[in-house]
Structures are given as C-alpha cells and as structure tokens.
C-alpha cells in the first residue's frame, strides 16, 4: 500500500490521538501563539475601558456548566477588566443549574486578585426563575425580584445594593450568555430601558448576534473562546482562553491537514480503484 493510499484511510484512532495531544500540550506548556484582535472585540474592550471609575454595572452570567470552557474565560477577563478599572459589579444568572455557582466562584477569585470586597465592590444576586419577569421587574425594583443575594444576605445589608434600586443607577451591562437569553436582554432591557450593553457569547451563537452589533444594540461582542483570547490579550492578562486558542489553532490546522492529505491521496490513487474499497457514497 502506497503512502497516499494510507493517507486515504487512516485509522481513526491516529486522528484521535493527535487531537488529544494537541489539547494536552498547550495546556501543560502554553505556546503563546499570537492572536489578532477583531473589531467587535476591540469595541467591547473600548466600551468597558471608557467607563469612569466607580461606575456601577450589571453583569449577567447566563450560562450552563456545559459551555464553561468557552464562557468562563470571557467572564474572567471581563471581571478582571472591570475590577482593574474600579467598576462595581452586580452579577446575576438566569440559568438556575450551575450558573450562579460558577459566577460566584469566578467573582470571588478575581475580586481577591484585585483586593475587592464583597457587598461593596461586587454582589452576586444569584438566580430567580421566570427570566422575563426578572428582566422587566428589575427595571422598577431589584429588591422585589431578588429580596436577598445568592448567599442569602438581604439586599438592604449590602452597601452596593443600597445604591442600586433599579436599572437607573446602573450605567452599563456586560452579558456573558450561552443561550437565547441574550435576545431578551437586547429586546427587553436594551430596547425598553435604553441600557447600553456588550456581550460575550459562544462561538456557535456569534454569527447571529453580529446583527445586534450592526444595529448598534450591542456595542461589542466576544465570540467564543477566540473572542475571550483576544480580550485577554487586550486586558493584558493572558490566561486559559489563550492556551485554549493554542489548542484550537493546532486542531484546526490538524483537521485541515488531514482533509488536504486525504484529498491528495484521493487524486493520486483515483486511477487504481480496484485496490480501494474504504469508502461509500
């Protein structure tokens, strides 16, 4: 069997092994491949960067644990940026299963890193069912929707929340979402309360959300791990997303390489069909 025939019907396990290796190596030893910044990420960064210190912002983290690899790095980079700019952050989640706890975890970690205090610099409101009621209700009174935060403390006992009765005292919204909640934030909160917002969404969702950016409803967009990696670079804190992007680049090139080799093999051996039975239609 010639090399090209071999390339045409490679054992799937060889492909699997190479993919494993392409993820493991960058996780252990970051390759630090360069990232180029897209305009949507740039405007996301600029929007947050131009907020005056001390501003209060809303930080919805509407994500399921299953997309954590994509969404957590976005949340981490965004919170780092916010805390470094001394913004004060009100977090919440519209995904009951896992959303509030991942948010709590990330907020505490990044707050500690930047010397921020719970209740003064940031709050995690947690989750309440019925997102439409939550999104609209917070426009008149946050306390009616969330009588207490995720830890069970009454809002009146949190200095930050005493300053924030409703959307009027929040100047900006930074959303991280892996589902259609983003549509509700745009169509309810941006449209009715003219709250300016930026969003980080999963890669699969990004093309559809671009229309919100074009319409000016979102002032910036992070698309998946790639967006997160670009943002990490801009914030100056290279972390998991950049490492993930190293793996992404390797695997994308690997798949492209396999496809190309498979095709070259196909054209090289097209004439000796008798020896080749590997494939159907």
């Amino acid at each position: 069997m010639s090399f090209w025939q071999l390339m045409q019907r490679l054992d799937r396990r060889i492909i699997y092994t190479l993919i494993f290796v392409s993820v493991i190596i960058p996780t252990l030893f970051p390759l630090k491949l360069p990232t180029a910044v897209t305009p949507e990420t740039m405007s996301f960064f600029n929007a947050v960067d131009s907020l005056p210190a001390g501003s209060r912002i809303l930080f919805p983290f509407d994500c399921w644990p299953s997309t954590r690899a994509e969404t957590e790095p976005m949340a981490v980079a965004a919170l780092r940026h916010c805390f470094r700019k001394n913004l004060r952050v009100v977090g919440l989640s519209n995904v009951g299963m896992g959303g509030p706890s991942v948010l709590e975890n990330v907020m505490n970690r990044i707050a500690e890193e930047n010397g921020k205090v719970y209740g003064v610099d940031y709050v995690n409101l947690g989750y309440k069912a019925n997102y439409q009621a939550v999104l609209l209700g917070m426009g008149s009174s946050i306390e009616t929707i969330f009588p207490a935060d995720h830890r069970g403390t009454r809002l009146a006992d949190l200095p930050l929340m005493r300053e924030v009765p409703n959307y009027d005292s929040l100047v900006y919204t930074v959303i991280v979402s892996d589902n259609a909640m983003i549509d509700y934030w745009v169509s309810l909160v941006n449209a009715r309360y003219s709250m300016p917002m930026v969003a980080g969404v999963t890669a699969v969702m990004a093309p559809k959300q671009m229309s919100y950016v074009q319409a000016g409803q979102l002032q910036g967009l992070l698309g998946g791990m790639k967006g997160a990696a670009e943002y990490e670079t801009l914030v100056g804190a290279v972390d998991k997303a950049n490492r993930g992007m190293d793996s992404q680049s390797l695997i994308h090139l690997l798949i492209i390489g396999f496809i190309v080799l498979g095709n070259v093999g196909y054209f090289m051996t097209r004439n000796d069909k008798r020896e080749y039975h590997g494939e159907r239609g």
Partner: protein, 205 residues
Amino acid sequence: MSEFFSSPFVVLFPTAFFTLALYSFLYKDNPMFKFAEHVFAGLSAGYYFGLIHHSVIVQQLWTPLSEGTDWILIVPTVLGVLLFARYVPRIAWMSRLSLAFVIGSTAGIEFIRQLHGLILPQVSKTLMPLDSINNVLIIVGVLATLIYFYFSKPHKGVLGWTASAGIGFIMVAFGAHFGYTVMARVSLLIGRIQFLLIEWLRVAS
C-alpha cells in the same frame, strides 16, 4: 493521611474515573467503558424519574388533585394509565387512544405553528429590495434551495439548473456550518482536559 483523603485527587477521583472510562471507548470497547456506560444509563434514567416525579406527578397532578381544585386532571390520568393497557391483550387497543390524543394534538398544534411561526415570517423576511449583492444572493439562495425540494418534476432543464444552484448553496452553508462548529466542540474537549490536568492532577495551573 486525612489530608490525602481530602485532596482534590481523591475527592475528584470518581468524576475523573468516569471521564477517562468514557474516553477509553475511543480506543475500543472495554470493560471500563461498559461499566461507565451502564452506570451512566442507570443514573440518568433514575435522575429523569426523580425529576418527573417532582415536577410533573407531584406538582402538576397530585397537588391539584388532592386539593380538589382540578378534577379535570382525572382525564389525562386515565389517558396515561390507559397506556398500560398494552400489557393486557384483551384491551391492548385502548392504549392507542392515549397515543392518538398526543399525536393528534401535536399534529393540530404543529399545523398552525408551521404556518404562523415559520413559513409566513421567514418568507416575510425575504422580501428585500434588490439593492445589494448580499440581498440578491440571499433571495437567490432561498429560491434555489426551495426549488431544490420540488418533487413533482425531474431535475432537468431550467428546474435542473436551479436545483443544482440550490445544492451548491446548500453545500456552501453546510461546509461553513461544519467548519464553524469545530471550534465550539474543541472548546468542550479543552474544558474536560483542563479539568483532568488542572483541577484533578494539578500538573498545570
């Protein structure tokens, strides 16, 4: 000693074990995968059972019935119980009544939903002026795709030509979607490997 037992290696061991057991399937079927597979199936069926018990049977059926407010719920209960008629040969046909109810109501709901929720709005979105290349392409793409599905004539002549354009458009879309999804799927794998190497084995940070 107790420090060892509270270390992430031990605490996360079950999670890591089952993760690796499932991945072992990629090499070939083996007892470890088989074990994980059956545990997984059993747990998930049990989980679903608990979920339905609380969210449907208790909340939507038992509570309203026991409060005596919603006697009409006896009807779906009977329909549900009728499903078990298939274990009694003489009345086995009765279980089809319940299925006919569900399938019939689905068909009824879907008939209008397809027209109201999908066909009309999607067609409406396509009514754009031919004032840019993108608009022209979208309109041509929608029409060609739609005509590709035309069943009543062989794909020859003008129809054949349009249908080939349709299949061309379809392949562009599918190729793009495939390529675009790679990143999302690899992200999931990165998440699992980061769990194994960073959270469990702590060999990276």
